[in-house]
């Protein structure tokens, strides 16, 4: 048997291992028991070969799975990036619109007057210590101004022009009018065109020369004036039957002075005017006529007696 296996000149076992000789052929060359042993041996060898084969292909495949995972993470990251970019754009646009719709504001200090041209060519003359706010965006379709203090408006024809004060709302089409609002004093004088004055309860239509005012808790009162524009435009503050405290307020605004009126009765009614350019003249024209003495003290406060 052994001789038989070794003396075979063609080294059939090598050829069988190689696959050039089939199992069936081998069976004819060796005994059945030998065949089974060889076959088992070959299986074991094949398996050993497989187990010992390089792990490089496995590593490559593991690596590609890992890279896929990393890529998934990365795309999630870039998705987040995209989100934050979108958010930034939103914020930028938001800021743009917010600033665009933000109020434009003009303010006058003590003893200061300003004339402001609005986007449509209308004019606002701001008296001393007054503020207006308005939105430049959409001005043509939404002419709306918030006012604190006193202003004279020359409104060009166009869409509804609204002046809002805490005391009431003045709506006009094209006209000249004066709106004054200080503390509890609210006065509208119409010089040209038609003006509608609305507060919480009532609406009043003012024709040229008509005025309306509301002082403190009193009812609104209407009166007429023949002037073509408010006197302050010409450097004069005029009052018709106004409590003295509002006149004093106006003096303080026009001259940036402090007046101590604690010793006098401020509710006296005053009719008249004072110059906005000459303090001495102004004080004389108000207080001399009212029989009130005025002394400037060390701190520069004007005391009334």
């Amino acid at each position: 048997m052994r001789e038989n296996l070794t003396t075979e000149g063609s080294y059939f076992l090598a050829k069988w291992l190689d696959g050039t000789i089939s199992d069936t052929k081998l069976r004819t060359l060796v005994s059945e028991k030998d065949f089974i042993d060889f076959k088992k041996l070959k299986n074991g060898l094949d398996l050993l070969g497989q187990l010992n084969r390089s792990v490089k292909p496995s590593f490559i495949s593991v690596k590609s799975s890992i890279n896929q995972k990393i890529n998934v993470k990365k795309t999630q990251k870039s998705f987040k990036w995209g989100l934050s970019i979108a958010a930034s754009i939103l914020i930028i646009f938001g800021c743009y619109f917010a600033f665009n719709s933000l109020d434009t504001s003009y303010e006058t200090s003590y003893a200061e007057q300003k004339t402001i041209k609005l986007p449509d060519g209308s004019e606002v003359m701001l008296n001393a210590k007054s503020v207006i706010n308005f939105t430049q965006k959409d001005w043509d379709t939404n002419r709306s101004i918030q006012l604190k203090g006193e202003a004279f408006f020359k409104v060009k024809k166009g869409s509804t022009f609204v002046v809002q004060t805490p005391k009431g709302q003045v709506t006009v089409l094209g006209t000249k009018f004066n709106v004054k609002h200080t503390h509890a004093f609210f006065e509208v004088v119409c010089y040209e065109g038609k003006v509608s004055v609305k507060n919480d309860k009532n609406e009043h239509i003012l024709n040229p020369g008509n005025s309306i005012r509301k002082i403190d808790g009193n009812d609104s009162e209407k009166y007429t004036s023949k002037k073509l524009f408010p006197s302050w435009v010409n450097g004069e503050s005029s009052f018709v039957s106004v409590p003295l405290n509002y006149v004093i307020l106006e003096l303080e605004k026009q001259y940036n002075i402090e007046i101590d009126a604690s010793k006098i009765d401020e509710s006296i009614i005053f009719t008249g005017s004072f110059s906005n350019k000459d303090l001495k003249l102004a004080l004389a024209s108000v207080f001399k006529t009212m029989n009130i003495d005025y002394i400037k003290d060390k701190n520069g406060v004007l005391s009334l007696e």
Binding site: L5, L13, A14, G44, Q50, L51, S65
Partner: protein
């Protein structure tokens, strides 16, 4: 990325761990599964899991992590296989154990083969390993070793004979 040479998240460290343990793990998995393809799948999944936990596993403990994970994955697979088979009402493969092709390869038998190879004469061993482990053709081996193809065949033939004698009745 992470430069720390002691962190598995470092790709170099990870690759080194793979090269050190992959073969042992594959062998381990094969004897559990008796299925080369399944062993390969679990091997890859195990290393992917190692990568997922690369920040939490100490490189010194990587080996035990790998073998534990591989074992658990194998058990999970078996559980799943059982469920699938119950569901399909299908009996496990009925192998014909009478023909040698289906003989189960035991771990001990492989060890015996390895021992037998190591006792081969140097010249036969060289040729035999090139052929069986490196998958080289006889012609290539002839070129590498610098002998004729006939001489290669002779060495292979004799090597196999010797191994059968050595292992004896299996």
């Amino acid at each position: 990325m992470i430069k720390n040479l002691n962190n598995i998240c470092n790709q170099k460290v990870f690759e080194k761990l793979f090269n050190t343990h992959a073969k042992d793990l594959r062998r381990f998995l094969f004897f559990k599964t008796q299925d080369m393809n399944l062993a390969e799948d679990i091997l890859q999944d195990t290393f992917i899991k190692l990568w997922d936990h690369c920040n939490n596993v100490n490189p010194a403990k990587a080996k035990s992590f790998l073998f534990t994970v591989a074992k658990n994955m194998f058990f999970n697979y078996k559980k799943h296989e059982k469920v699938v088979m119950n569901h399909q009402k299908r009996a496990p493969k009925s192998s014909n154990y009478e023909t040698p092709e289906y003989l189960l390869v035991e771990k001990e038998f492989l060890v015996k083969i390895e021992e037998a190879i190591s006792t081969l004469p140097e010249k036969q061993k060289e040729v035999f390993l090139l052929s069986r482990m490196e998958n080289k053709k006889y012609k290539e081996i002839a070129e590498i070793v610098g002998i004729s193809v006939k001489a290669v065949e002779k060495r292979m033939h004799l090597a196999l004979l010797k191994m059968k004698d050595k292992i004896g009745d299996v």
